[in-house]
Every structure is written in C-alpha cells, then in structure tokens.
Symmetry: none
Subunit: 412 residues, 2 copies
C-alpha cells in the first residue's frame, strides 16, 4: 500500500530567544494563537539542531534537521552557494563564493563589489572565466545577483584546505591564496587559484564591459575574490534516504543551496525574499499546494532571524505574528489524518546577541496519535515542559519516519 | 572588545544522594536558603559528569566537567598526583603514586607507610632516588606529605600498562611488577621498575636516616611501593581551549592535580583541607577575590563527600549548610551582569553506599538572560523538573561559552 502520510518541517529561522528584563521573549510576547493551538494539540519539547552548547549556522542546522551530519557533509559555504545557483556539481568539486571586485594594477582592492555591477554585465564577464582550464583543472564560474558569483574547480588532486583570496576589506592587496595544510592537493589548489586570479585580471581589466564602465566613471569589475572554500561531498539524496518525494519553500539562497544539495525540489514563490517583508501568505498557499504533490515539504521563513540580527524586538514579534497568520491558513487546509507537522526553528538568535546562540528552540510535533502533552503555549519556557523533553535535530526525521510508518525495524 | 563576562563552576564534591527511608536526601533536609535562591533565579536540571550509569571518580568527573574527555586524557592516578606535587611533566612520562614502606630482607611488607615518616626525613630519602638512570630511563621522584610520593619514568619505549608494586596489604611480599599487555614497552617498563625497587632497597636500607629511625625503634623507610601507573597524555591547556584565564580553589591534592594538568592556576587558601573542617569562608573570600583577576574559577568543596564516605548523614547535612553559608557570602559579592555561576557536584556519594554512584546530580546555571524555570529548591528531585532537563558534564563549558559569547559559530 502506498504511504499517503505527508510530513512538513516548518522552520522559523532564528526562532528562539533569551528572556529580556521582564522575563519575556518575542515569542512569548507575540500573539500567536495558531502556534499555541498546534502546541496544545501536539507533543512539545526543546530541540538543539546539532547539540547542546553548539551554536549552528542556518546551513548546518538545516542539514542536521534533515538528518544529514553537518560534520561530515558541510565543508564550507562554497558548495551550498554553488548548489544554490543551480550548478550541477560532482563529488570532489571544490567550490568558492566569489565577489566581482575592483583592483588597481598592484592588486589593491578598491571596491569589494565592483560598484555593484548589474546582472547583465556580470553575465558577460562570467563567460570570460567559465570554461577555462588550468593545469588540467576545469574552471566553472557562474554569477548570481550581479556582483556575486560562484567558482568551482573540477579535476584530480584538489583540496578545499586553502585560504581566502578575498581580503574582506578594501585598501589592501588581494590575498595570495595559501594551502592550509601540508597536503600536495592543497598546495596545488592554491597554485591554480593564484594563477587563475592573474589570468582573470588580464582578461577582465580591458574587457569592453569594463571599458564601458570606466567611461561612465564606474569602477571596473576586473578581479574575482574567492572565499569559503568547500569540497562537494558524497551525499545521499533525500528521496533515496527517506523514500519521500520532497520539496522546499524558502526565500534565501543559503537554504535553497541546502535543498538542492540534498535533492529537495525548490518551489518558487513570488515575493519570497527571506526578509521581514516576504510574501508570507504566498508561501502558506504554496505549502498547501505542495502537499498535493509531495510527501515532504521543508519550509523556511527567515524574517524573524533578520529582525534578531538587527536587534529589533518589536519587528521579531511582528514577524512571528505574521507567521502565525500564515500557519492559520495552512491549518485550515490540512488534516491530522494526512499530515504530520513539525513546527520549530533552526537556532535561537537572541535579540541581545544579534547573532545565533546555542540556546535550544521550542518544537512541536502535530499529527494523528502523537502523545499530546499539557503544553498550551508555543514558547521557549512552556515547551521545556513538554513530552518530547529535549531532542536533537537529527531525531526529527527519524520520529517522522516512525510516525508515518516508514522506518525499518531494527531486529525481530 | 574584551569579553568581561566571568564564569564560576562550583563543585560540591559528592553532592547527590539517594533518598532514605523517609524519602529524604541530606540536600533536601539541609537548610540551604542560598542554594534555593540560586535555583529559583537560574535554570536547573540534572547532570551526569560522564554519562548515565557511569560512576565517576572525582578526577574523571572534574575532567569531564572542564570539557576534557576522561577516556582520552585520564590514564591513571599517577600523572594527576605528579602534576599535583608540582612536577614539570612531559607527554609520554609514566607516573606512579608511591608510598615509602618498610620491608624485611625478603621484601615482605611490614608497614605500608613506614611508620608515617616525617616530611623532613622523606625529603632526605627522596634525594637518593631522584635523578637515577636505569636502562636509559630517567627516574624522577618527589615525596609529598611524608610517606607519600610520586615516581616518574622518563624515556623512550615506556608504557603504563604495568601492575602495582604495592600489594595493598601488610605481611605479604612486594608484588613483582608485571606487564599488563604483550607490548615490549610494558615488558621493558616492568623490568626497569623491578630493578629500581631492588636498587632503592639497597640504597635506603642502611641510609643514615633509617639507621637513626631504627635506633628510635621506628620502622625504616627502606622501599617505595608504586601504584596507579598512568602515562602523561597531550592535553590542550584551558586557556588555549577556551581563551579564558582560569584558576582553581580546592583543598584536595587530586583536584589540584587536575587543575595543574589542564593549566588552571592554583589559589591557595589557608585552612582549605578538603575535609568537613575546611576553611569554608576562606574559600568563599578567595573566590570573590579571584573573580577580579580571572575569567574562570573552578571551586571544589570536598567535605560533603568525606561525610558520605563515612556514611554520616548528619555531617553531610551540616557540611551542606556550611557551604550554603559560604555561597551566601559569594552571592553578596557577585552580580548577574558580570558572572555566570554553575552550582553542581561531580558525582553522587549516597550515604547508604559510602562511595560514588552514577545517580545524576542537581545543577543550576545562574546569570543574565538564562531561561529561568519554575524550580524553587536546589535538590535531586526539584531540579529534575528544570528547564535544562538532563545534561552531561561535557556540555557545561559549551553552555558557558555560549552564554558569555565566546563560542564559534559552526556554519553561516
């Protein structure tokens, strides 16, 4: 019999917080009747995406929640960005995030974003770099959103243990890329990158696009600055791992990268920006729609995290209320008979810290036959008393597989 | 910006207990208003220093609480004692605890403590042993508190997999030291030790100090009995690991050894004896003082454990009340803005067992922005309902790093 049970993991990015002087968190303060209803009808607890005391990025947290060990599959931002822009990567590819930048003849960085060149200009310059070959290594380059881009090295004997070319500031020279360990692979990779940057400068500096920019008094995009090296690791695709057809609804490139990396279909929603002004209801409708076609949907709503990074308590509260409204639509359209719904976050982003912390996040699992506990509100304090106690991100998919009858019995 | 947040881990040695016939533990029975206040203002839980069901020593428990894996860095008591007496040890040194003892001409042990010889006598005898060389191995020996001492072998091809020379009883012969595995290193180490014991006997038996003792009718200290072999392992120093300048306040040699091993500065307190009669208030004042100079202070108060080992319920209760008084002084002098304070134990020492057990220990973390829970009393039962749920010793430092903004983010 085909398993018809669907699963949703709904991630409110940066959800958790620490109490303020009045002992309140934005989640406690916000009016979130739908979240509270879900908590009341589900089984609650606290969750650390990776482990107690570990302060995760959104990327490593999402990997862990999807059941992938970030210590094994996460080697740096590069591969995620490369997956995010839609490159078809292979195991062993070494990928970097890049900026187009402006340097003078001594390679001193004058503008780290090359005057924010347009996507159209970037696409022209991309063609100059993409497809080159250096020492038997294929160079793949793709621009994204104008001055940003992704560089991939494909070939034998490469390593991601190399330093950034990007000096991360202006007025200083481009970093010479150095091997970060004693391997010959790291040495070779650094050499290839240093050669590449020289060739890129020679090819771009007098490129017609840049001559045109100079005429307009704009800084030329005459170099690329690689950073965040990572190697593409072997990763079992989501469907192969769980036998569920999966999709992802999110506005941010980082999470899109994760989704593509593990093989979740991206669902584009108009106006989904990954900011507090995202198209909340568009995403809610997309989720309800996706559940008709997919067994599993990962949703990430980023706005609360953005508000936290800005230290904006009121905005975080407001975003949480908008998300509650969005959930209200979703819960009008799903049934406990068909859907298991996990509502949680990827990490805490306390207002006082303006950055991620290791504080655990509230979680509720809602659906048929879960062991409903006494928790009546969805927040950091009430969920601590829930029936799930404390779990790790890696447990979530396992619990969902179990609830939906998809996991294998170990033993007789 | 310099991180000014301080951290204290305050260990009540042997804190936890099992309920008596009336369902009470000494901690429940004792009047501990300050501990209860800390619990009320902090986040509580239960903690196992190593893991559920693991019955730790004070040494392995403290290592784990400080974030060191005892399964990797703890190889035996010898190295701890050697660090404790202030020896400058090197990775690979093999260290033993020793007693000066009295043997007859057939090496039968007549007195395992050589009539408790004085520190002055021991220092004279120490000079005979210290500095010898056997088969290319340097012999280092240091006496401590009279009949006790530490023996260190330094050289190539040594192992700590050797049996004790100490027979742990009188009226029997000194044990021949045997290799405990098939390695040539263990064989070589055992041979060197057996040679050493013969040489020590020859050198000490007619030493003027012993001739003098015989004249007074006292047993001569004519042998040393090594036990508790351990190899000194590579250990990342506390400052390098956490970037916090750390100190330790404790009365017992074992914990002093741990402190020196990981690189915490020892703070000497007059009258700190590691017994129920220790100078409680002296330690409290030393802690308040240390917080002016250090980022991190580990405090160990041993008395409750001593009382437990004696099966003395009332004394344990009394010690806990004295510690509460000590904490009252401390909490008059620290502020939630500056200090994160962890109050816990290293292990349970149930009165009924007169020894360490694996029962978890109450823990509370107090400081700015912790998620205060409903717990109003500090004991084994109330803390089980706290917001921390259950954690391991290894999590404590990670949580403190996170609360004080010192940990690295993993990912983006």
């Amino acid at each position: 019999m085909k398993n018809e049970k669907k699963c949703v993991i709904f991630i409110i990015d940066g959800l958790g917080d620490r109490p303020n002087e009045q002992g309140k968190t934005p989640l406690m303060d916000a009016k979130t009747p739908t979240m509270d209803k879900i908590a009341k009808e589900g089984i609650c607890g606290l969750m650390n995406a990776i482990d107690i005391g570990i302060r995760p990025g959104s990327d490593t947290a999402h990997l862990s929640i999807l059941g992938y060990d970030p210590y094994k599959v996460y080697t740096g931002r590069g591969p995620l960005e490369a997956f995010g822009v839609g490159l078809d990567l292979k195991e062993g590819d070494v990928a970097f995030r890049c900026n187009f930048a402006t340097v003078d003849e001594n390679f001193v960085v004058l503008d780290r974003r090359a005057g924010r060149i347009s996507p159209e200009e970037a696409e022209q310059l991309e063609k100059v770099i993409d497809g080159m070959e250096i020492d038997g290594v294929k160079i793949i380059f793709k621009s994204s959103k104008g001055y940003r881009g992704v560089l991939v090295l494909r070939g034998e004997g490469l390593s991601c243990k190399v330093s950034d070319g990007d000096p991360h500031e202006e007025g200083v020279k481009v970093n010479e890329i150095k091997p970060l360990d004693d391997s010959k692979e790291a040495k070779r990779t650094a050499e290839i990158l240093n050669k590449l940057l020289k060739i890129v400068y020679e090819k771009l500096n007098n490129h017609p696009i840049n001559e045109e920019r100079r005429k307009k008094g704009l800084p030329p995009a005459n170099i690329i600055l690689p950073r965040g090296a990572g190697v593409v690791s072997k990763i079992e695709k989501f469907y192969d791992k769980y036998k569920m057809k999966g999709a992802c609804i999110c506005g941010t490139g980082l999470i899109k990268g994760i989704a593509k990396m593990v093989g979740l279909d991206p669902i584009e929603v108009e106006g989904a920006t990954g900011t507090p002004n995202t198209n909340f209801m568009g995403k809610a409708k997309a989720l309800v729609d996706a559940l008709k076609k997919y067994d599993f949907v990962l949703v990430n709503v980023k706005g609360a995290d953005e508000a936290s990074h800005d230290g904006n308590y009121d905005l975080k509260k407001e975003v949480l209320e908008k998300i509650d409204n969005m959930l209200s639509y979703v819960f009008e359209h799903i049934s406990r008979e068909d859907v298991y719904f996990v509502l949680t976050g990827d990490h805490s982003t306390p207002i006082e810290m303006k950055d991620h912390s290791a504080d655990p996040i509230p979680i509720v699992i809602w659906g048929k036959s879960v062991r409903v506990d006494d928790v009546e509100n969805f927040n950091e304090f009430s969920c601590a008393k829930g029936g799930l106690h404390w779990i790790k991100g890696e447990h979530i998919m396992k619990i969902l597989l179990d609830l939906t009858g998809r996991n294998e019995k170990f033993g007789a």
